[in-house]
Amino acid sequence: MELLDNLYIGFQASLAPVNLFYCFLGVLLGTLIGVLPGIGPTATIAMLLPITFGLKPETSLIMLAGIYYGAQYGGSTTAILINLPGESSSAVTAIDGYQMAKQGRAGPALATAALGSFFAGSVATVLVAVFAGPLTEIALQFGPAEYFSLIFLGLISSVALAHGSVIKALAMIVLGLLFGLVGTDVTSGAQRFTLGIPEISDKLEFVAVAIGVFGLAEILRNLENEHDRDVMVTKITGLLPSKEDFKAMVGPVLRGTALGSALGILPGGGAILSSFAAYTVEKKISKHPERFGKGAIEGVAGPESANNAGAQTSFIPMLTLGIPANAVMALMVGAMIIQGIQPGPNVAVEQPSLFWGVITSMWIGNLMLVLLNLPLIGLWVRLLTIPYTILFPAILVFCSIGVFSVNSNVFDLYTVAFFGFIGYVLVKLGCEPAPLLLGFVLGPMIEENLRRAMTISRGDWTVFFTRPLSATLLVISVLVLLVVFLPSVRKKREEVFVEED
């Protein structure tokens, strides 16, 4: 019954009026910045960090956490409405969410995202509360070899992201991998493909690339066929999902939650994989995979649940070990240090009201988000009725501010322009940006972990097969490959893909 005691301590902290207020402020701010394309939680938390100095430690962490998962909600809004993912996880939501919006089903898409996220967030919060300790131990089993195999599986499965030609999807993944190589090689410190430009000597900025290939390219394309937009505006149907929608949603939400929770605890990019993985799974098991990429509600429900569950469980390594899983968690660690709390294995013991207060506030915050977001859906959808000639300059301005805010770097704006042009050309060629983005994110990770695993094993390739976790993941990869290339399946695939070209 220790858990109940702990939860009691937690709710006592998180239900204090001042904490409730800052929790609400956090999720509200998070939603708003999530909706503004490009301005992500990292930049916002960095900007708001000084404000939290004056607050009590748990209050400030509750607010910062609220901003983080609030932004996960808000980020999907722009992905659905204007094809503008601000975070790598919402890039997947954009695929089918934006198609739904185009068909006048923006309301149901947004509601699906909100409800799926709420369910996933609630389940993941319970997981964090009950299993934080043991889950950390599992996450620590993941060494470089395991990460390599996990990402390998991710790349193999990613072909499913494409709803057009498989060859083109593979080409996009490879192109993404190549762009991912730009910057400093971690192992040797050598610069690759940086053309002597110091601004990209680390890497190409993800937000700039994503906004370019998705957002800017979409704007260019929309300006080309202005009349398409009018069609889309007049056709707005109900705001809430229908009975059939709910039925279609249940399975993907459950599976997305499971996948996201599992991958989120892995420090080092597990959360990025979760939404991609959820989409792949939904498409693979769907009876009608041909609907994916054309507004399938499962393609919104699965990844959205996965990314919210992942966002929640990514707190586990930070809370139990003091080790940040991503940039936002690094900021949270910074906030704790400034507050005089040393993040580490002892936080749960030394600061129970902080530890459990933050965990319980996640559930409260998720509830607030649903209550906040469901009524807002009508407002967001009406945004689409704004004439495009007014809307697109506003989007461009917000994108530019957002991209600039990441590093205060003018060069990143040129990157947006460059990738906007590339994205436009790709759309014209019938290639899709999602696999490119996946390659861009996973390419450097797989290389880093491959070389690290080989360094530690001192050049012994068998390390990937002798470690049980790694071997299991590789076996699954081979199975996926077999499924893709088995004659009977391939025939079905060709039917699926044929109508695109």
């Binding site: 470089p144 400093t184 601004e199 000597s201 680390d202 690094a330 580490g344 690290r452």
Partner: protein
């Protein structure tokens, strides 16, 4: 028309000079650039000091993170800024090591800046995974000499303090381990706690709590005296490796040409901030202490930078590692 333009220009110039005059500096918020990501140890040090200095100067010091290229981008930005006292830089030991690590820098390390003063020196610790065989530093050195490159050493990438600390250690014991680079100390620490790698050298900011929690073991601190937050960990000299001293020292710089009065004002404000009880307490939590008044001066920072450039150049050149 021309006349009114000239008048407007004169007014603008007056406003411009007004804000630059040293007597009433600062009249608007000051930007302090940290050349690293928000939330990291250097960022934390900066925000604590900036907050305290803001109270003293009567104007907010806004901390801006301009990361990238091992801190050289942010330093370059400050070197090219107006020398009016409204753009400052807080940088650490990399200011000195970058001078050798980078063959081409966007600024002149010794000639591009005015010096405000040293801020703090964060100690480092030599640590290993919790189940690693050697019990103390002596046994560890023997183990490394016997097993050489079978021992893996994690660091946060070329040029990082954890990398330099390892280079110094290996040159001291004249034995090479296998270096495993990571993107930052966070993931490196994850793999050390997860027992994927054998050892690492990192600042107390990152290691103290893992050591206290028993997730990793510590062999020595790289300081001359014991670190107050880790009283049981011997110094390298005590444990048998004298001369193995590394600290992450932080200093505040202004662009070259900033008026001496402004620099003086900033130094005085820095000295006050370093005595602020809150700053002292938070620094202690990080396992470090603020420097003395004598060190929070332009002269002390300049001397430190010069001596550290000279100290690290041969180590880096001998290892043949460059970051560009």
């Amino acid at each position: 028309m021309l006349k009114s333009f000239a008048a407007a220009a004169a007014v603008l110039a007056a406003i411009g000079f007004g804000s630059a005059s040293a007597a009433d500096y600062p009249t608007r918020p000051v930007t302090m650039i940290v050349p690293f990501a928000a939330g990291g140890p250097t960022d934390t040090v900066t925000r604590l000091v900036a907050e305290s200095m803001s109270k003293d100067l009567g104007q907010q010091i806004v901390v801006e993170n301009i990361g990238g290229a091992g801190g050289t981008l942010g330093a370059g930005r400050v070197a090219k800024s107006e020398p009016d006292g409204y753009t400052l830089l807080l940088h650490h030991i990399s200011m000195a090591t970058s001078a050798t690590l980078y063959r081409k820098l966007p600024y002149d390390t010794l000639g591009g800046f005015e010096y405000v003063g040293l801020v703090t020196e964060v100690p480092m610790t030599l640590v290993a995974r919790s189940d690693f065989e050697p019990k103390d530093l002596k046994a560890f050195i023997d183990y490394v000499k016997a097993n050489k490159d079978k021992v893996t050493y994690a660091n946060a990438g070329v040029g990082a303090a954890s990398h330099l600390c390892g280079l110094l250690f290996m040159s001291k014991i004249e034995t090479q381990m296998t270096t495993v680079p990571y993107k930052g100390t966070g993931p490196a620490m994850t793999d050390l706690v997860g027992k994927q790698v054998d050892t690492m050298c990192d600042q107390t900011t990152n290691t103290t709590n893992q050591i206290k929690g028993g997730k990793i073991k510590a062999y020595a601190t790289t300081t001359t005296t014991r670190v107050s937050s880790l009283p049981d960990v011997p110094t390298a000299a005590e444990a048998g490796l004298p001369g193995f001293e590394v600290s992450i020292w932080h200093g505040i710089y202004a662009p070259k040409g900033t008026s001496p009065e402004i620099v003086k004002k900033l130094s005085a404000s820095l000295q006050k901030a370093l005595k602020d009880p809150l700053v002292v307490k938070r620094f202690a939590d990080l396992g470090t202490t603020p420097v003395s008044d004598a060190d929070a001066t332009p002269e002390a920072l300049k001397a430190k930078l010069t001596s550290e450039i000279d100290r690290w150049a041969p180590v880096i050149k001998a290892a043949g590692v460059y970051a560009d």
